[in-house]
Amino acid sequence: MLPCKPIIKRISLFLFTLVALFLTTDIAAQDGKVLYQTNCQICHSLDKNLTGPALRGFLERGPWGDREELYKWVHNPAAYLATSDYASQLKNQYGTIMQAFPQLTNEEIDAIAEYVATAPPPGGTPTGGPVPEGAPDNSNRNSIFFGILSLILAVIALILMQVNSNLKKLSDDKENIRRPDPVPFYRNKIYIAMFAMVFFVVGGYYLAKGAIKLGRDKGYMPEQPIYYSHKVHAGINQISCLYCHGSAMESKHAAIPSVNTCMNCHKAISSYEKGPQLYTEDGREVDGTAEIAKLYKYAGFDPARPNDWDPAKAKPVEWIKIHNLPDHVYFNHSQHVKAGNVQCQTCHGPIQDMDVVSQFSELSMGWCVNCHRETKVNFYNEGDSTGNKFYSIYEKFHNDLASGKMDSVTVSDIGGTECQKCHY
């Protein structure tokens, strides 16, 4: 019995150290992750060369297998640079030298190396498969179906009428009643009058509809040089409309962003991985990564050599203008967006849900005037200091509002439907 105790003691000690060992390595890796996230990932990614090289497997590269060398480098890159060919080669490749991290202890650097060596590889499950398409629009198919049905019925009715007249003729012949020869249907005045009326109504309807559509492009959806999805950028990734179209606040135009604006993010984002599968309007699959490659072609950017990029050599992407007003109408974005506080979506529709942009509004004069009649102006309110001081010049309306003579002022009231406001 006696020798048992030490054995149990030894085993429990062994188990304890084992558990402790597991725990400590785990804690080190955990710490490493946090340290990596706070210190490294601003410039480094695990699998992608960014400002600095991809870190996965760095212990096998250059002199970094020797931890002493690694500590020296991290604590003072500038001093280490002079002593190492590998480091100066890196500097040439990336055009910049790493920031010094003198505050990191050797153990912390070990922890980071541990995390980088054990970090799970990328990939896994892509978020969100292809989004199931909504039920196809049936209304068009229905109208075709009813059209065919009424045509068939009309033909049957015609045949029956002919049969009826023939039978009548036969019975008349039998009973020897003499009647004038029946007129063929294309000479029959009733038929001609009916046909003319139908033709007049249907033809007139299409003619009027076609004439109204002249010069209007609601639903215009051209194919752009690059498949750019507003849904991915403005919807999923929540980039403000004004990030790219900022001049809507300041000028007549809501400017089309320069290639430079695209490259602010796409210098680093070279592949489309995390969003849903994209489709063109006619259902073809779109390869987002290939579309980003098109942008690189315009920008003259080589993702393998990001430091050689010269923005001055970029060529503009020639986007096709969709929302276009005739030359004889003046429209100013800043007037509507800044002074009027109108949302982008009011005229351009739910742009954050559109993969392919189409013209949402009629952009006809009636559409403009209607909005000017209905929209209330946001007058400045002294009481709670809300509203827009821009309109303070309309003194009479302010007085009328204060005395209760009017309950609200529309754009039309302040001259928004005067001809020369837009046509001059």
Binding site: Y206, Y220, L242, A268, I269, P311, K338, Q345
Partner: protein, 226 residues
Amino acid sequence: MKKSFIAAGIITMGIVAIGCGGGDDTRNNAYMPDMAYSRAYETYTMSAEKIAELQKQGIFYNTMPVEGTIARGEMEPYYISNDTTGYAQSSSVQDPLPEMDETYYKEAERLYLVNCAVCHGSKLDGNGPLWKGGDGPYPAAPRNLLDDYSKGLSDGTMYHVITYGKGLMGSYAHQVNPKQRWMLVKYMRSIQSGSKPAATDSTAAAATGNGTVTSDSAAMAAPATN
């Protein structure tokens, strides 16, 4: 004779009906194309080919402002160059703007939320919608503007970085003008130090919406509202 008239009528009617209705990827015809489509050169209509065409006629058209000129109301240009010496020099550049009042602060906040928050986060914590703690599409973590490194930067260096970019961040010189850049620096400083101009809280800024685009839609929720 009569029949041929009717037939001709039907055919013209058909052509008119088809001709007016453009498809999804073509524009409809206009009543008077000369009036609808400008003959004068408008923004974005000057392609390289058009400029070359004009040059053949002896007209030299340039879309760039004349070198050495400054737009009215514009601040003096920033002469420090985009390299390591320029970066070092920038720390001595002084912020030329006076202290922000409430209106300026609101505008600066708007500028920050539109241009910066998408990466650096609306709280300046480096966790904007493009990074989302590593779930967003951006491969590198944006700088946490509240960390000691950012707090230690001088105003001039922050201005320099907005102007020329640093690391993965691109130049924002074409998106925010010099005055707006200084306003952004001031805004970041005020959040870093936790001091705001008096009588400004986020609810008031959201309610007035004077000059800002506020939206309840998902697209603009993060950057454009408070």
